[in-house]
């Protein structure tokens, strides 16, 4: 299964400069961590891959299926940067609604919502109105929404923002428990996530991929005199501010 982005160009307004320009990207197998400076286009890339927005130029396909097709959408899940709590819906209802939107039957979505909330340790808040949840809890609802319909591609935009250390660990364990044929693209500013079983690293800068490779290849870009424990940061700095490179 391959998610490919070919020559994708996207601008938020017709008169604005493109955020992504002629982007060529293939999502690797396993867990890929997407990093880059603010404004690099990470969220935009995820939105395009999630079929929430369409590029003005280029194509996005999943095993050859274009992104506007139902089959593509059914196979892809997206956790946006901001999770909106729906007025009138409980946590479980909001997750189930997402599952239903992704094509699940009503009963199946309801049961899957309970399981997804259990995976993010939010079972106790399942009947709480979404608007009453804390920021971190809402984030976990978003993660549960991404997991509910067992998508083959997970696109997660800063999934651990607002989570406490325990929840981050639970989250990473959840990712680790995913089957091998699920591809995950995770955007983060937390380079510690790199250490958590990432299979690949992609660095985005000014709408272009500056690095795509293994964590080891990523870390190799750190200057030699980098402090131990700060190697990932140093590599990130070098790649997001320095030369173009491939790992």
């Amino acid at each position: 299964m391959t998610l490919e982005m070919r020559s994708c160009t996207y601008a938020y307004r017709p008169w604005a400069p493109p955020v992504l320009r002629d982007l060529e990207y293939t999502l690797p197998r396993g867990l890929t961590v997407l990093v880059g400076p603010n404004g690099a286009g990470k969220s935009t890339l995820l939105r395009l891959a999630a079929s929430v927005a369409r590029p003005q130029k280029g194509t996005i396909t999943l095993d050859g299926t274009p992104s506007h097709r139902r089959a593509y959408r059914a196979a892809v899940a997206w956790l946006p940067q901001r999770v909106i709590p729906m007025t009138g819906l409980t946590a479980r209802e909001q997750v189930a609604y997402t599952g239903w939107l992704k094509g699940m039957g009503k009963r199946a979505a309801w049961d899957a919502a309970a399981r997804a909330l259990a995976r993010v340790e939010l079972t106790e808040e399942a009947e709480t109105k979404a608007r009453r949840l804390s920021g971190g809890q809402l984030r976990r609802v978003g993660v549960a929404s991404a997991l509910v319909h067992e998508a083959r591609v997970l696109l997660l935009d800063e999934p651990t923002a607002g989570m406490d250390p325990h929840q981050r660990r639970v989250f990473h364990d959840t990712l680790g428990a995913l089957t091998d044929d699920v591809r995950v693209l995770l955007s983060t500013h937390d380079v510690a996530d790199l250490a958590a079983a990432a299979d690949h690293v992609t660095v985005l800068r000014s709408g272009r991929v500056t690095f795509s490779g293994t964590p080891a290849g990523f870390l190799a870009h750190a200057p030699a005199d980098s402090a131990p424990g700060r190697v990932a940061e140093a590599a990130y700095t070098a790649l997001s501010e320095g030369q173009w490179a491939r790992g």
Partner: protein, 196 residues
């Protein structure tokens, strides 16, 4: 489906909107005021009933804007078709209220309520595709245009006004049908703009 209804808050907002609509029809069906016209320099009699669709249009837009945009924009379900169905249901309900009030009150002023609601709703949906939530002001702006520019010196409304035209006016009915159709087409064909 029920989650979609709850997400739209249709089960609470639409009944409130329709209750408000009905109350306004009963209160204002025979209220006429002379309002200034910029076109003629004189005052023209303008029925308050022309404004009655405004709350329902506002409530409908509020309902449509209550979305889980992340999930719905990448949905495999036909959410926009359901939204169009909700719009049609609101217009149909307004039409029922108008015809019912006309039968009960016999004033004739309530009869075109459905047509006017259809027209204003279609217009709002068309504007919404470009402007987003501020499109909620569309019905009021149209009303102001009708008041200021829509009447001639004899107090007759121009063809384009739609709202104050007679209940059996075929041109107004056609305009309303076309505008609603355009609005629904836009609603089905475009993703709604959001503030975020």
């Amino acid at each position: 489906m029920w989650w979609w209804v709850k997400a739209r808050r249709a089960h609470t907002l639409l009944p409130v909107g329709l209750t408000l609509l009905t109350a306004l029809v009963l209160l204002l069906h025979d209220t006429v005021a002379r309002l200034p016209s910029f076109r003629t320099g004189a005052d023209n009699p303008v029925p308050a009933m022309l404004l009655v669709p405004v709350p329902l249009c506002a409530v409908l837009l509020m309902s449509l804007e209550s979305r889980l945009s992340a999930a719905e924009d990448s949905s495999v379900r036909r959410v926009r078709a359901r939204d169009a169905g909700l719009t049609l249901a609101a217009v149909a309900a307004a039409t029922t209220v108008g015809l019912g009030a006309d039968a009960v009150l016999g004033s004739g002023a309530a009869a075109p309520l459905g047509r006017n609601t259809a027209f204003l709703t279609g217009l709002t949906l068309c504007v919404r595709s470009r402007a987003g939530p501020p499109a909620v002001m569309t019905p009021v702006v149209w009303f102001a245009a009708v008041v200021f520019f829509g009447f001639d010196r004899t107090g007759r409304p121009a063809l384009w006004t739609v709202l104050p035209r007679a209940a059996d006016d075929p041109v107004a009915a056609t305009a309303a049908a076309l505008t609603l159709s355009a609005g629904l087409a836009v609603q089905l064909g475009t993703r709604p703009r959001t503030d975020s």
